[in-house]
């Protein structure tokens, strides 16, 4: 069983900010939170990783509250090319993927 819970799907419009939240109530002390993006017929691609508070890179931000039982991936000003499946994962041993969140960006 996946250790995380995400919404199955989300729709948004071009130019909007999109926030995808992941629940992980049983996160282990040494688990980092990692987000991946996957397009059809391609392997998942690393987006961002964090342990606590806030992490930002050139494509996204990751917000992690103090209790670390959830995390939120923030995609600023999305475009049609951001339509993909997004996965939230924990740790680095025997990494278990859930079903992910299917994000559909509308024009």
């Amino acid at each position: 069983l996946a250790k995380t819970t995400q919404p199955i799907s989300m729709d948004s419009y071009e130019g909007q900010e999109v926030n995808i939240t992941c629940s992980h109530n049983n996160i282990a002390t040494n688990d980092y939170i990692t987000w991946y993006q996957q397009f059809p017929s391609q392997g998942p691609r690393f987006i961002i990783q964090g342990y606590k508070t806030k992490v930002t890179n050139e494509v996204a931000s990751l917000f992690i509250p103090a209790d670390r039982k959830s995390s939120t991936l923030s995609l600023p000003r999305v475009s049609l090319s951001d339509t993909a499946v997004y996965y939230c994962l924990l740790g680095d041993d025997k990494i278990i993927f859930g079903k992910g969140t299917r994000l559909h960006i509308l024009p």
């Binding site: 017929s41 499946v85 025997k94 990494i95």
Partner: protein
């Protein structure tokens, strides 16, 4: 700097046959994990290799086996193929560091079709 490369990209096999898929990890990575992804599903963990040994295994039968070579490249072997083995097989590499969780770098997979 080459990322993760997998071969072949596509493969068609008949039920009962055997198949070998290959993976070269990203430069500097020493750990290889294999995943099976059916259409519309998330990747399912098969196993992970580090230091030429299987370290972790998911819920897959013994028909699925693997190998890691001294140069860190890896093979996935599937025997007695079933129709249900048709899927995208993904290889991911990472660097084993106990201090933090090394992100996975994926190849674009091998599309296996069993007829």
């Amino acid at each position: 700097d080459a990322g993760v490369t997998q071969s072949p990209t596509h493969l068609i096999k008949t039920r009962g046959q055997q198949v070998t898929l290959r993976c070269s990890p990203k430069s500097g990575h020493d750990t290889v994990s294999w995943y099976q992804q059916a259409l519309g599903q998330g990747p399912q963990f098969i196993f992970q290799y580090y230091e030429e040994e299987e370290r972790q295994r998911g819920n897959f039968p013994d028909r699925f086996s693997g190998h890691q070579f001294p140069n860190y490249s890896s093979e996935l072997n599937v025997n007695a193929l079933l129709l249900g083995d048709s899927a995208l097989y993904l290889c991911a590499s990472s660097f084993r560091d106990r201090a933090y969780n090394s992100p996975l770098h994926f190849g674009n997979g091998t599309r296996l079709t069993v007829t």
